[in-house]
Every structure is written in structure tokens, then in C-alpha cells.
Symmetry: C2
Subunit: 338 residues, 2 copies
């Protein structure tokens, strides 16, 4: 292993000077800088990040805490995580995945190890216990999602209001008046306080009222089968519905196939609009689902950006609320005239 001491020796300077050029922390004359840089390339020097971490008390590692017990790590989570990892790498940070329980015990344990400089919290609950824990430890963190009371918390999230407005506006604009929302399953204790479900549903009730359409809302778990069952229920009990909005990604695929199986033509008889879906997922259906694209890559990036700015003492990133944007597939159209 080539150390800074070796480089210093070869360049005929002190180890401190080497450190100064490496970190750009003090002015160094071009001549000595050149000598040092030459020595570094000749020796193939690479600075040891562990020693640096110990001395500087900054590891340049951040963690993404993912409550894997309560939320499966699917396509959307993969989008968040990989974009966060990319963003971190571009800023010379490493990203580790912490699959932790939602109660915060493991989180305390891990934070105490001193391995990471900060934490990005995924799948945030409205009253997330992890927030208090992190605050108590003084560990810097950023949220992808939001708690209810976020006084000064660094966060980025989906703009559910705008998303739902555009979604409903799209359907209303096509002429639909009998909408139905297949929402997230708030009866499941794991999701009772899950931001995306709560906020989407609330926004929908508000927007629907504004448009003067009645608000029928079903709960539905995020599985294809649940979506199919919900579709059957729509056909059975709300047969005059002309358009459904589906919150859950996988459920939406089931809703589409379930409606077809029950003899409904999409979008001839009924339109289907997925809220919060990865375009990758939308493409799995035939026809491709019209959907509001989850801004996973954007939020993964912004989340780490927000955290890293804190760590570097830079201007804090103002909270970003990113709306999901409408992607036209083949599952929405004007309602049949009757």
C-alpha cells in the first residue's frame, strides 16, 4: 500500500503538504504541487478513505434507511435507491442500504456505530418515530417523504396535490363525471399513517369536491390480485363508473386486467389512470397504462443532494415537492356517449 508518507518522501516534501494539495485546503506553489502530483501518479497513490474518515470525522458514507419489513423493495424503491446511489457517487459519497425495522431500534444501533455521516429516510410515516431518534442523536438526515409536522426538517416529496389535480383534470377534461378511486389500504396498520396513501386520498376528496364529482373510494392492497378484486367490485357495484384512478402501482395492473376479464373494454367502456407508477411498470400492461409517473429518480437524487448539502455546510436545499407527471398510455379516453 502506498501511503501519503511515501508520496511525501518521494516528492521531497512533508506529509502535511501532500495533504494540502489533496484536499485543496491550503495554498501550495505550482512547483511543489507538480512534484507531489508526479510522485502520486508514479507511485499509484490512492488516499485511504478509512484513515481520512477517522482523522476528519467524516466518512463520506451515507445510509438509506429502508423499512423493509413494512414495505417491499420493488421497482419504485429500486429507482429511488439507484438514483440516490448515483447522486452520492457523483459527489464522492458512498451509499449503503440499511434494511431496518420501522420502530427505530436498529436505526439507533446503526447510527451509533459512527459509520455514516448522514441518513436518508425512505417511506416516511406521518408520525415517523425514526425522525425523533435521528434528531436525538444529532445525526444529519433528510426525508424522502414528510411527517405531518415538519418544522425545518430537510425533505423532498411527491407533490400529491398537484399530481391529483392533474390526474382528475385529465379525466374530467375527457368528459368523465363518474370517477372512482382505488386507494391505498389504510386499514392495514402498516399504512395507516403512510404519507402517499393518506395525502393522495385527501387530495382526491378535495379535488373531486371542487369538480363536483362524487367521491367513491375503495381501499386496496398493492397486489395484482387485490386490484383484480377491486375491479370486480367496481363492475358489480358501481357499473356506471366511467373512469378509475388507482393509487397502487401493482394494484393498477390488476385493475386493468380485472376490468377486461369482467368484460369491460379499456378505454372504450372505462378509463384507467394510475397515480404514482414507474413508467417501467406502466409498460408492462397492454395497452400501456396511462399514468402519473412517480418522480423516483428525481427524488432519490434530491434526497441525497439535500443531505449532502447539510453535511458540507452548504446552503440548504429548500424542500422540493415534485409532482408526478402525466404519461399518456392507452387506457384513458372520453367516456362512451350514452
Amino acid at each position: 500500500m502506498v501511503t501519503m508518507r511515501d508520496v511525501a518522501q518521494r516528492a521531497g516534501v512533508s506529509i502535511a503538504t501532500v495533504s494540502f494539495v489533496l484536499n485543496n485546503t491550503k495554498p501550495v506553489t505550482p512547483a511543489t504541487r507538480a512534484k507531489i502530483e508526479l510522485a502520486m501518479t508514479e507511485l499509484g497513490f490512492r488516499r485511504n478513505v478509512v484513515a481520512r474518515a477517522l482523522a476528519s470525522r467524516r466518512t463520506h458514507i451515507i445510509a438509506m434507511a429502508y423499512p423493509a419489513l413494512d414495505h417491499r423493495f420493488g421497482l419504485s424503491a429500486a429507482e429511488f435507491f439507484t438514483s440516490a446511489a448515483d447522486a452520492a457517487r457523483k459527489q464522492d459519497y458512498h451509499l449503503v442500504l440499511w434494511p431496518v425495522g420501522n420502530d427505530g431500534a436498529e436505526l439507533t444501533e446503526l447510527v451509533g456505530q459512527g459509520l455514516v455521516d448522514g441518513v436518508v429516510l425512505m417511506e416516511v410515516q406521518l408520525d415517523d418515530p425514526r425522525v425523533g431518534i435521528l434528531q436525538a442523536t444529532g445525526m444529519p438526515f433528510a426525508l424522502i417523504g414528510r411527517t405531518t409536522s415538519l418544522d425545518g426538517l430537510q425533505h423532498v416529496d411527491i407533490d400529491f396535490e398537484t399530481t391529483v389535480e392533474e390526474a382528475v383534470g385529465h379525466l374530467y377534461g375527457l368528459g368523465h363525471r363518474r370517477l372512482l378511486m382505488i386507494a391505498g389500504d389504510l386499514s392495514d396498520p402498516r399504512f395507516r399513517s403512510y404519507g402517499p396513501y393518506v395525502r393522495t386520498e385527501a387530495a382526491y376528496r378535495r379535488v373531486a369536491a371542487e369538480y363536483g364529482v362524487e367521491t367513491v373510494v375503495f381501499d386496496c392492497a398493492d397486489t395484482t390480485r387485490s386490484g383484480q378484486e377491486a375491479a370486480a367490485k367496481v363492475v358489480r357495484e358501481y357499473s356506471d363508473t366511467t373512469a378509475v384512478l388507482v393509487v397502487n402501482e401493482y394494484a393498477a395492473l390488476g385493475v386493468a386486467s380485472g376490468l377486461k376479464k369482467n368484460g369491460r373494454d379499456i378505454p372504450g367502456d372505462i378509463s384507467v389512470l394510475a397515480l404514482l407508477m414507474a413508467t417501467e411498470t406502466a409498460r408492462l400492461a397492454d395497452p400501456e397504462l396511462t399514468h402519473m409517473r412517480t418522480p423516483g429518480p428525481e427524488l432519490g437524487h434530491l434526497g441525497t443532494e439535500s443531505l449532502i448539502r447539510q453535511l458540507e455546510g452548504a446552503e440548504p436545499l429548500p424542500p422540493h415537492l415534485v409532482p408526478a407527471k402525466l404519461h399518456h398510455g392507452g387506457t384513458t379516453a372520453p367516456p362512451r356517449h350514452d
Copy 2:
């Protein structure tokens, strides 16, 4: 921050003794051990992993190198990664994701930083350049996948032979004689040397010959659309086919919907069997696809296990080849009698 020095002081012993009980590296009398443990809990001591790493030259961090440019990080990759992260955590390791180019330049850079004790390589090519790089650096590593010449390389992989045998056997046993394989896209330079594609196709040609069925093989990219196009081609050019095997996960969904769109009833007219698919993905189709389940969780776990054993100087894990197992969905059935 509570350090070992604090604990030692409070317990009235030396810092070395504290280290001995923490690491179980030297005998300590029950009495002093008790004193120390008491002091630790009273003070809420947590050993700093960075200092430990520097002193012991073992960081207890491992990396998963994922060639994100060539392979999208989808549901299967997420399965591999999260199970690997879990396995690592259970053995007191951290897992970082390294989205790196496939050429190995970035890998050299990252390995040189000295952050990780070892590397798990994902999406291994038959002649993967990363292997040589890692060997040259002396960094321990394990493969999820295999190169062609693996003399003593630690690896775990899918048992493609057994998987294909069971798949073909299943269809043959149902009475199918006109099979067709929709294979991975070997004309794409990124996948020309991609183990799963090459090995699956080779195994298929061998097994099909054994069964005496003709071997029609299409190339197909891993997208729903490509799958749909392949399905159209099957209907157009090989209309007497009674069963198709599809290698690619997302293509398989497209094949199923494409066949339906072209008037084929599944499984009445034609059976569809997905090779190498996550059950989560299979459930997205209606009916659920009959598929050979990719052993992602098993391999993610085994890959880190293999690596960690090397790191701990334990008995090496013998190479594991795990077959994908048949999961019955609703897309295979005996061929129509004619």
C-alpha cells in the same frame, strides 16, 4: 461520544482489556468482564467502526458492483441486492451499492480507496474484465454468475442446465412437441457474452435435441414491446407452435399479452413458460405466468456468504448452482388435440 477509554476508566481497567472482551480475543476473568460490561451499558458505549477499521485493517463493508449502464436495475436486481444486504447485516457487515461501468476503470478506482473488504460482482460476463482487475488488486471477491474459465473463483449462479431441463420436461410431459424459445438478445453487444443468455440458450438446444424436438429460437430484448413483437412473429411464422419458453422476464409479459392480442388463447391454444422470472413479476400477468422462479434471494444470500467466508478465513463455500424452480401459474396446459 463514549470511547473505550471512558469505559476502561469507569471499569477501572485498561483500554486493552476492554478490547479483549469486546472482541473475545483473550481470556478475561468473569469478574472484570462483568465490570466492563456494566460500564459499557451504563455509558451507552458503542464501538466506533471507523477506528476499528483503521486499526484492524478490516472495514466490515462489502460492495456489490452492479454494471448499471448495461443492465437496468429491475425487480430481479432488487431481489439480489436486498437479500445480499440482509445477509451482510446479519453477519455484521454493511453493503454498499457501486453502480459502475463494465470496463473496470471505476472499479479499480473504488477498490483502491480501501473502503471495502471485498466485492460481490453482479451480472457477470463470460469473459468479465472486472475479474482480472480484482485479482490483480488482491481484493477478495465473489461472483454471482460465472465466467467461462473459473479456476477456483468463488461463485454462485443459477443452474441453467437443470432449470431448462425441468422447463422442457414440464412442457414435454404435457404433450407439447412444437416448442419455441424466445431467448435473450445476443445480437446486442452488451449481452453477447452474458452468461444467463448464452447458457440458457445452449442448454435449451441440448435438451431439445435430447427430447427430439426441433429448436426454433428467436432473439428478443427484455421489454414488453419486444415480447409482443416476438409473439406476433410466432403467430405469423410459426403458427403450429404449441408452447413458447421465454428467457427474459419483461419480454415474457409481452409475449403473453401479444399472443392474446393475436387471438391466441393461453393456455388453450398455446402455452407460455417464463424461464428466470421473479414470482412478483409473474403475478403481474393475468393469468399468473407459469415460470421458473429466479433464485434471487438465495443467490444474493449465498454470494455474500461466500465472500464473507473468505474474509473471515473460514472454510470456503463450495460453488453453488441453484436451479430455478417451476411455479405453476395459469399459462401452461396440454396442447389442444388436433
